[in-house]
């Protein structure tokens, strides 16, 4: 019986592909837009995720994210080191500076100063050069996306000389990083060097990165540091969330993407609903005939459900595959660097598809249920 339903469904090729297109398109729209949305706002947390060693970040009370920060006096480091449960603590500087390239162009860059001795604060992997190049004088490491912005035409930036705050800086490596929300060029250098590159103010220490001792959770330690030092200490995930929230609050991105996702849903409902209704109406005679030979409403509902399931599964599969193909084909583009599909997103779009199909199937089924066997003669 179900096989008859499937044959019925695929019998009219135009309507069948119309249905598939509707489902696949709206799945693609919802999945792809949600993916880009999640990845875009997570750019707000990239500064945190690029540092893989620190459990807890300590900052001034008014600092909000890795980019929006206010510097502390240099003794804050020693205060944090004095707190029980702190395994280690190192200074971390993040500040914006202007750089002069060899051509004389001006470019805004983010200077990231990592601990002199241990280099804690650098991204975990390098594309060119090794981390130890920072031990050479006047060395900086550039991030890979920044490279594409500052050096067009795929020239290797290694060995290029820059001018920062009247000081010489030589690029000696390229780091593999997730770019920040604004894709600002990031230059990594030693903390002591960064102090020279960033125009001076009284306090310079933006963050203290902390590793927790065994047996202490990062939340517990963060609370303890806040209490003992009067500074703001956040576990890694919390600061990352703050970065995401900052972008959500200060940009129109959630609204924009929200609208697109809703549009995807509406388009799905409209196309699928209309086509499915039309399809059922066209086949009302067949259903009438089936009823005439004694098929119950239950069975018919099962048939419609089977048709809906078939369309939904194929459409959803193609839609998700389309998103994967999209992310995969753009993964080489610096704008999409580090983009991934969170596993929750396909589930969300699956729920949306089920909703669409149940909704339209139920509406279409109402007509069938009311059909009298006599409809076959009309």
């Amino acid at each position: 019986m179900l096989w008859i339903a499937i044959r019925m469904l695929t019998g009219d090729k135009q309507k069948f592909y119309g249905l598939l297109f509707g489902i696949a398109f709206s799945t693609l729209l919802i999945t792809q837009q949600l993916t880009i949305f999640v990845n875009l706002v997570e750019r707000g947390a990239s500064g945190v995720y690029n540092v893989t060693e620190a459990d807890v970040w300590v900052m001034d009370e008014v600092s909000r994210t890795t980019e929006v920060n206010f510097a502390m006096p240099s003794t804050a480091l020693d205060k944090v080191r004095g707190v029980t449960g702190v395994d280690w603590a190192v200074p971390h500087l993040r500040a914006v500076a202007s750089v002069r390239t060899k051509d004389g162009d001006l470019e805004g860059v983010e200077i990231i100063g990592v601990d002199d001795a241990t280099l804690i604060g650098l991204p975990p992997s390098m594309i060119e050069g090794s981390k130890s190049v920072l031990f050479q004088p006047d060395s900086v490491i550039i991030d890979d996306v920044g490279t594409t912005r500052m050096f067009e035409g795929g020239i290797s930036p290694v060995g290029e000389r820059l001018e920062l705050n009247d000081q010489r800086a030589v690029i000696r490596g390229v780091a593999d990083t997730i770019p920040s929300f604004t894709s600002q060029v990031a230059l990594y250098t030693k903390y002591s060097q960064a102090l020279r590159y960033v125009p001076g103010s009284r306090n310079r220490l933006s963050f203290v990165l902390v590793g927790t001792s065994d047996g202490v959770s990062s939340e517990e330690l963060a609370a303890r540091i806040s209490e003992k030092t009067g500074l703001k200490a956040l576990p890694r995930e919390k600061l990352a969330q703050n970065g995401i929230d900052f972008i959500m609050e200060n940009t129109g991105i959630p609204l924009n993407f929200g609208i697109t996702v809703i549009l995807g849903f509406i388009v799905g409902v409209a196309i699928v609903g209309l086509t499915f209704s039309l399809f059922i109406r066209d086949n009302i005679k067949q259903f009438g005939a089936l009823k005439a030979i004694g098929v119950t409403n239950r069975k018919i509902a099962g048939m419609v459900a089977a048709q809906a399931f078939m369309v939904g599964m194929i459409g959803y599969g193609l839609g998700v595959l389309g998103t994967v193909a999209f992310i995969y084909s753009f993964s080489g583009d610096p704008t999409f660097k580090g983009f991934y599909i969170p596993w929750q997103v396909p589930l969300i779009s699956l729920v949306a598809m089920v909703l669409i199909i149940v909704l339209t199937g139920w509406i279409a089924l109402r007509g069938v249920m009311k059909t009298e066997p006599a409809a076959v003669f009309r």
């Binding site: 499937i6 044959r7 695929t10 069948f16 598939l20 995720y49 893989t52 060693e53 620190a54 459990d55 006096p73 240099s74 003794t75 480091l77 020693d78 205060k79 080191r81 004095g82 029980t84 395994d87 280690w88 603590a89 190192v90 001795a117 241990t118 280099l119 804690i120 981390k131 997730i178 002591s192 102090l195 020279r196 001076g200 009284r202 306090n203 310079r204 590793g211 001792s213 209490e227 003992k228 009067g230 890694r236 599964m313 194929i314 459409g315 959803y316 599969g317 193609l318 998700v320 595959l321 998103t323 994967v324 992310i327 995969y328 580090g338 991934y340 599909i341 969170p342 596993w343 396909p346």
Partner: protein, 350 residues
């Protein structure tokens, strides 16, 4: 289409299979694409409190290694050209050992002059003595003559005058000798001042002069000190403690110290003293325009004998035990907020 089975249907049979395979591929892709946000351990050992300190109240501070005598910048008493440099960086010298000498030709010639003046004065003493002797003999001769008419009165007066003039000449020559000897003495002193000697036993840490260079008593404006030395056996470290943490430091307890870049190599340093003066923190950023309002207490610790692990001027990280946990938990902010009475009670309790 002959290759395909008879009732083959693309939409009924192939599409669902494509969809299922697509879903599986997508699932694998999504699973593999999830970002790695695991925490990793630092590549290099960061400074950390070890042993008992790891779990108890502590105060951390950064500081510099210095000689136990503090750094002594050797100066010169007299300006001039360096003619001889007797030490080089790394030498251990005894107290009084010659470090360098400044050109002494001018002083030596004035010493020669004074010596000549001494000889001259001696000669004139001789001459005056001879003259006095002659005059006295003459006078005595006149005095022996009984007959008053034999010698004219004026002859006698002249002889008497000559005798006293010879006396005065002798006195003059003697004082000239004294003056010349004094000049020679001061020339010898100057000569001694041109030789710069070690004020104490210690190690020569830096030599910024070379023979032929000019040294002046001003220290050469902004230039580096001529020679820096200090007693490096033992070495001390000067740890900066934030003013907010001063009351927490357990004075007298040994500190756990590690040099920058070798945090794994920790040593125990024994307490020497705390400086009585709380000073503005010297930031080690080498920036001329440093303005920092943090004040620090400097505490000195003596490093044990280590084989070249610590060097003068090196930065170190230190962990010092804090006073009992109770004080630590009170926190500096709360303490200041409390009234005088309560503070006194607390003092009694301790």
């Amino acid at each position: 289409m002959a290759l395909l089975p008879e009732n083959f249907s693309f939409s009924r049979k192939v599409l669902p299979v494509i969809a299922v395979i697509g879903l599986i591929i997508a699932a694998i892709f999504i699973w593999n694409g999830l970002p790695d946000r695991e925490l990793s351990d630092p590549d290099q050992e960061p400074p950390r409190a070890s042993g008992q300190l790891a779990d108890s109240a502590r105060v951390a501070g950064a500081g510099l290694v210095e000689p136990s005598s503090e750094l002594v910048d050797i100066g010169t008493a007299l300006p001039g050209i360096i003619t001889d440099l007797r030490v080089q960086a790394g030498d251990f010298v005894e107290k009084g050992q010659v470090l360098f000498t400044v050109d002494d030709r001018a002083i030596r010639s004035s010493l020669n002059e004074s010596n000549a003046a001494i000889a001259e004065a001696r000669a004139s003493i001789n001459e005056a003595q001879t003259a006095r002797r002659t005059a006295q003999q003459q006078l005595a001769l006149y005095r022996q003559v009984e007959d008053a008419a034999a010698v004219s009165r004026s002859e006698v007066i002249r002889a008497e005058g000559e005798a006293s003039a010879a006396n005065s000449r002798l006195q003059l020559a003697r004082s000239r000798l004294n003056a010349a000897e004094a000049r020679a003495g001061s020339a010898r002193t100057e000569l001694g001042r041109l030789t710069v000697r070690a004020p104490m036993a210690g190690e020569i840490l830096a030599v910024n002069i070379r023979p032929g260079e000019f040294v002046s008593t001003q220290g050469g404006g902004n230039s580096a000190p001529f020679i820096r030395m200090g007693e490096t056996r033992p070495l001390y470290i000067r740890i900066d403690i934030d003013e907010a943490d001063i009351n927490r430091v357990s004075m007298g307890a040994p500190a756990t110290v590690s040099p920058r870049g070798a945090a794994g190599e920790q040593v125990q340093a024994s307490f020497v003293r705390a400086e009585p003066l709380v000073v503005p923190k010297t930031s080690l950023t080498n920036s001329a325009a440093e303005r920092v309002d943090v004040r620090v207490l400097q505490v000195l610790y003596q490093l044990p004998e280590t084989d070249g692990l610590f060097r003068v001027g090196q930065q170190v990280d230190a962990f010092i035990p804090a006073k009992g946990d109770k004080t630590a938990e009170d926190g500096p902010a709360e303490k200041t907020a409390e009234s005088g009475d309560k503070g006194a009670e607390q003092g009694d309790g301790e």
